[in-house]
Symmetry: C2
Subunit: 309 residues, 2 copies
């Protein structure tokens, strides 16, 4: 490992924000040395990762904001990774009234990084995994990943976060029943946000029923009511997150599951990285002109020529 | 190709619904013969695929429903593929007041198939692609794919549909600006649904501005107002879809781009299929017990052992 990279790594271990930012940029853009950096990670950090996910408009960012305030009052250090394109922590969104969130950018106990959510195929998942691993080396008390999702896309965060908070708002009431299986699969905590609204009670009760059904003799997944804008329920959420994180140590099977999920994503990403998309495109452009072109036969032939398993 | 499969294929070409359903089941579950079926596809069909996507609660299903009514009145044959887990066309959601949509299940001109949106990693995209290709052989006048998405997940549909309708509702107003790049990348048509609400005008104007900015000297992407529940604007939407589909023939570059996207997804899926997840898990469980375990090193070693590129 080159001396400069070694130095960068040691600075990251000391939680030097500039070094951490540089390390992330290295990884994000596949710059020279980024693989060395990843291979150098000790991955012995015990920082657990909290994921906050939910549909756009669920108030995830306001909730993250409120949690930051709570943790700062407890003198904790926090890293926020915003993958949600609509997050105010995302540079692109620092507009209008959202600019107020900016205060945290200068707080020495908070490191914030936003990731563009559009990249090459499968590339984003790999990058989030890699960047989270780099951030983990810096020994923060909390790492928060904010992603947008409901339906398919939250799968990613489920493989990444030790504790996943699914944020929903009253409007989601109708969808909850149909998304049930997916929600129950990923949520460690439910937060019913904007809970001061009249229609929140129905959603709350639905979720309570769902988690009760699933729990059987086990402990039920917490369902909490929050009003992120006023801070109501945020303390309880922070406590539930701490509890969830603490319990991870007693659940080695979940840790293994996360690691397996992560390995699968990395395997997939690495396989694609070794293929030339230019070559694929070139061969496709020739093949598609043939009279009996069939895309499945084309893909088979392409892989046979270029890969031996 | 076995005689039985040949027969099945010929029946699919004749738009026999039972054969089509069997063919899809074959593909969906990787049953014996499914690869033969895919390789047999002539892929000469000219049916263009329309995608309808948008966040949960945008009224996609009601809009699909209204479009079905319109096309039926024109004596068209239609296939609907519902990937959205909250779609009423999804069996799991045939509850409560949604059951009224059921009428179309018995209409001889409409073929409806819902796909579970949770499966193995990357598996869903491949299955949607494969199933759409099977459906294409049956020569419907319209193929509609309904997916839930906003943020990352609509990427999939973008590679699949010749014409993508992005459905938004007034609540989305705040998000539109931040999702701008992503939305503009995939939308061929914008539908502002629930447009009878007072706050719809703002969203409508924002979208109009966005498409105007992007268009330059080219034609602007249509932005339409719809009220799916009353049918307002649905005719216009159907006309815009027809126009969008017709224009595809004059845009061979888009066709190639879709085919490339499809090939990439298939390559990715095939690569994963050839790996044993059991083996990956087994090796991971051993490796993670080592004192200097590093997941990136582990994945590299696993691939080196199991794959040669």
């Amino acid at each position: 490992m080159p001396e400069k990279l070694r130095e960068l790594y040691l600075q990251i271990k000391e939680r030097n924000f500039r070094a951490l930012a540089r390390g992330i940029t290295l990884v994000e853009n596949n710059l020279a040395g980024y693989e060395d950096l990843l291979l150098r990670l000790t991955q012995t950090g015990t920082t657990r990762v909290t994921g906050i996910t939910g549909p756009p408009g669920a108030g995830k960012s306001t909730l993250v904001n409120a949690l930051l305030g709570y943790w700062l009052r407890q003198n904790l250090t926090i890293a926020v990774i915003a993958v949600d394109p609509s997050s105010p922590f995302n540079y692109g969104a620092l507009l209008g009234d959202r600019i107020r969130m900016n205060e945290y950018y200068t707080n020495p106990n908070i490191f914030i990084r936003s990731l563009a959510s559009r990249g090459a195929l499968g590339g984003l998942s790999r990058k989030i995994i890699e960047i989270t691993d780099v951030v983990k080396e810096a020994g923060f008390d909390r790492i928060l990943i904010e992603t947008v999702g409901v339906g398919q896309s939250e799968v990613d965060i489920a493989g990444l976060a030790d504790c996943t908070v699914v944020t929903l708002v009253p409007e989601a009431g109708d969808e909850v029943q149909t998304l049930k299986a997916g929600l129950m699969e990923i949520a460690d905590i439910f937060a019913v946000n904007k809970a001061d609204r009249a229609d929140a009670e129905g959603l709350y009760r639905n979720l309570r029923m769902m988690v009760h059904e699933k729990a059987g003799d086990n402990a039920e997944i917490p369902v909490l009511k929050t009003v992120a804008t006023t801070g109501t329920g945020v303390d309880e959420l922070a406590v539930a997150i701490s509890k969830c994180i603490d319990e991870q140590s007693s659940r080695p099977e979940k840790h293994t599951k996360l690691l397996l999920e992560k390995s699968i994503q990395l395997v997939q990403a690495n396989l694609m990285r070794n293929l030339s998309l230019q070559q694929l495109e070139g061969e496709l452009r020739t093949a598609m002109l043939q009279p009996h072109f069939n895309v499945y036969a084309f893909v088979n032939e392409f892989l046979e020529k270029n890969i031996r398993i």
